[in-house]
């Protein structure tokens, strides 16, 4: 059993190339709630059989992330460059997090998180009554310090 595992892993290593995710870009540069955004990423190394992106929307004032995460397929628009367009759902969202998932050798690998803080206040009124002061700043600071490092994991 152990021998089989060792052989299996050796073969796996021999076939595997490191997968590298380029920077995820989100356009337009000034993202607002419920806007339509285009997400682009480059992937080098192995050619994935499938690429998806999950987009989570959060409200930094109330400190909630909505459970209806969008999980979209990405299309290869040029060699190693994948793209999708989606419309954000929540009017009161103040930021979004995108994670790209690439299926390589039947394993899902994921990119680092891309956090985008929206450029306009929710509903355009700037009201954060009942919110947590400084939450957005805290969000960015702690996210930088506390990124969960995961090598490979299945998402589906």
């Amino acid at each position: 059993m152990i021998l089989v595992n060792i052989i299996g892993s050796t073969l796996g290593v021999a076939q595997a190339l490191p997968t590298e995710f380029g920077t995820i870009t989100v356009e337009p540069a000034d993202v607002t709630a419920q806007s339509t955004v285009t997400i682009t990423v480059t992937i080098s190394g192995n050619t994935p059989s499938e690429v998806r992106v999950t987009v989570e929307e959060c409200n930094g004032n109330t400190g909630v992330c909505y459970s209806d995460i969008q999980n979209m397929s990405m299309t290869e628009v040029s060699s190693g460059r994948y793209q999708t367009t989606l419309t954000l759902k929540h009017a009161d969202a103040t930021n979004m997090t995108a994670i790209v998932l690439a299926k390589i050798n039947d394993q899902w690998e994921h990119s680092p998180k891309k956090i985008v803080v929206f450029s306009a206040a929710p509903n355009g009124n700037g009201d954060d009554n009942g919110g947590t002061p400084g939450f957005e700043l805290l969000l960015v600071l702690v996210a930088v310090g506390l990124i969960v490092v995961i090598g490979k994991r299945k998402r589906f």
Binding site: C58, G130, R153
Partner: protein, 164 residues
């Protein structure tokens, strides 16, 4: 109007004595039911490992863990984003990251929802974190969607700890 109270928190959601109950899997693979924890106040944190406000919520829960005894309350955090791809490995890495990167040991019970998202649909459909404080019989005394500061949680727990 109907959903407003859950956002404002402090809602009474009595289940008429039957008590709130969910089934979850611990990190070591055991199946647990919430009713097994009745008898103490329960702080139930429905969270996601990839949810940033849930990270900040951990620091508030840690204060609860430090300032109340195990005889007074039980804290349970359940990852309810399993149907979105989160799993035990990720959750364990999440705990390790707290320990290794910010030297905070999240020393309470952690578990996971099932792949169908049963708990998510029933108790965290709006988003995460969703927090519940249950009395010793498992009745919902308080619920809140979104991050909640220690002071609010503590004052709610203190209300429950006051002798009748």
């Amino acid at each position: 109007m109907i959903v407003l109270p859950i956002f404002s928190g402090c809602t009474e959601q009595s289940t008429n004595g039957s008590g709130m109950d969910v089934t979850f899997t611990t990190l070591n693979g055991q199946t647990k039911h919430l009713h097994e924890y009745y008898g103490k106040i329960i702080v139930l944190d429905l969270m996601g490992a990839n949810c940033q406000p849930c990270m900040y919520q951990m620091f508030e829960l840690k204060k609860l863990s430090e300032n109340y005894t195990r005889d007074q309350l039980t804290i349970i955090s359940i990852d309810v984003w399993v149907s979105l791809g989160e799993n035990a490995i990720l959750l364990q890495q999440y705990l390790n990251a707290f320990e290794q990167q910010v030297n905070v040991s999240l020393d309470w019970t952690f578990g996971l929802d099932d792949i169908q998202g049963t708990i998510t649909h029933q108790y965290a459909s709006e988003g995460v974190p969703t927090l519940y404080i249950l009395d010793t019989k498992g009745n919902v005394y308080y619920s809140h969607v979104g991050y909640e500061a220690y002071a609010t949680l503590a004052s709610t727990i203190d209300e429950l700890l006051e002798p009748a």
